[in-house]
Amino acid sequence: MKESQLRLLMFLQDLLSLKKEMQDFQVVEQYEQMGFALDKKERIEESIREVTEQLDPVLYHRFLRIAEKYDRPMAPVKNGVCYGCFVSAPTGSKLVTEHQDVIEFCNHCGRILYRID
């Protein structure tokens, strides 16, 4: 079964935030003081590549464009509110991927929307 494009995007964003965290010298130092081994940081890049290869190119391109503007290109929707910009009724703009997934974007801020219920 093909992985949902939205879930891949969410995974990608989590990986990117992990990568960012691992580039923060102070955070890494904190981790090491707590006793965690961080010996294979280069593996994050591999994982990011694996995920991006499975993404629809048009969608991925759009993700990158949004990422230029915001730290987090994705935002949760709760009770009809985009938690990226806090404007209500955010849905409207949609993109259908080559995998037939429908990805929704916030009409106000343009972030990719997902729901956690």
């Binding site: 964003q13 989590d14 992990l18 965690f36 081994a37 294979k40 994050i44 994982s47």
Partner: protein, 150 residues
């Protein structure tokens, strides 16, 4: 945020049944109230984190942790595996005690690293492993968290 405020009857399992690392992660994730898709995504993310270096910090303790979009607040769980199993820990010894910590990418309160630090500190308390092995019921575990010095 104190550790005792984070744990309760529903996110502690003193009898993990898993026989390998992946199964432990899944059992811990099951203690969180998430839907199946979220659980699956969280599992993948925790695995990716383990791939960077084991979160088995030795002396029988492991603290699998990550940030993930699938949660909207800090989530924790504790599991005990009486026999212990291989978690690729730093000291090469089996792990018996597992703290799972998952936080959203951004939290207003920023509990993630402080909580992680408190858990790591808890794991370093002298003889804490022996005490954790002896407890029989969840309230005893909660009491142990309450007793730790800040």
């Amino acid at each position: 945020m104190e550790l005792k405020e984070l744990f309760n009857n529903t996110n502690v399992n003193l009898n993990l049944k898993a026989t390998d690392k992946d199964a432990v992660l899944l059992e811990l994730i099951n203690l969180l109230k998430l839907d199946e898709k979220a659980k699956d995504m969280l599992f993948k993310m925790l695995k990716k984190r383990e791939n960077l270096g084991s979160t088995g910090i030795g002396k029988g303790f492991a603290i699998p942790h990550c940030r993930s979009l699938v949660v909207d607040k800090l989530n924790v769980a504790f599991g005990r595996h009486c026999e212990g199993l291989d978690f690729k820990s730093i000291d090469g010894k089996p792990a018996n005690f597992f703290f799972l910590i998952v936080a959203p990418p951004i939290e207003i309160s920023n509990y993630y690293l402080p909580v992680l630090g408190k858990v790591a500190q808890f794991c370093k308390i002298q003889d804490i492993g022996a005490k954790l092995k002896e407890i029989k019921e969840i309230p005893e575990f909660l009491k142990l968290l309450e007793d730790i010095p800040n």
